[in-house]
Symmetry: none
Subunit: 141 residues, 2 copies
């Protein structure tokens, strides 16, 4: 994260992306989700389609996830400028290190400290979840 609020997408991730436009929005946790326009289309349809605007939960999801979304372009050096409002909502400050996570069809962008805290807090859950995978694997086999 440089002092202009730009973030360099590591080449190993960037090379997987075709096109130079990405959609950035608030995630469930204190971080940002970054999608390709196509993936975003899917996700937003999924949320919008889950119920009508007269359902309070749907409205909540729309406000938290759909409304903050913004299209951003990757510049010629492979960086994207994260809009200020989104930076704030994920506690991303310029000039500070950020963590990017690539997960097949989307990315997550975290403030380092927020991410470290998350990992610490979720350690027990993680161990449990891993044990559950074991069950899943054995059932599948």
């Amino acid at each position: 994260m440089d002092d202009k609020g730009r973030f360099l997408i590591p080449s190993r991730i960037r090379n997987e992306i075709e096109g130079s436009i990405l959609v950035i929005t608030r995630a469930v946790e204190k971080c940002l989700w970054i999608f390709t326009p196509e993936e975003w289309e899917k996700i937003s349809r999924l949320i919008m389609g889950s119920s009508s605007m007269f359902n309070s939960r749907t409205r909540l999801l729309q406000r938290r996830i759909i409304a903050p979304a913004q299209e951003c372009e990757i510049d010629k050096s492979g960086r994207i400028t994260i809009p200020q409002t989104l930076r704030q909502s994920a506690c991303l400050s310029s000039k500070k290190e950020a963590i990017i996570l690539g997960v097949h069809n989307y990315m997550e962008l975290w403030d380092v400290d927020a991410y470290d805290n998350y990992l610490l807090d979720s350690e027990d859950d993680f161990l449990e979840a891993a044990e559950d995978l074991d069950k899943l694997l054995r059932e599948g086999a």
Copy 2:
């Protein structure tokens, strides 16, 4: 582990691998897991398929296991360069000894000290697990 962060795969293990590409990621404990692309495909499918991105456990597993994964190539001398981020997450320092464990369908890479500590800490669990194995064997027979 040399000072460039490369790790030589012992020939006895290397000869079992067909192809020169491996997938390295964070393991459950403080070490790295190394898979063939085929094995990795299985594992990542298992995790990705276990639920959607709107499930907090799935996200946790994705963040801890899927996101850190990187493809690496074995060089002509039989070494792989361990990406810096992964080296850090397993406390592997260059110029220091590392332990590799070959376990049929995957490998584990440990920092020597971390591995020693793990063995000490897990001694009781190990003895228990061995007892349980005994039960399992007698039931099966």
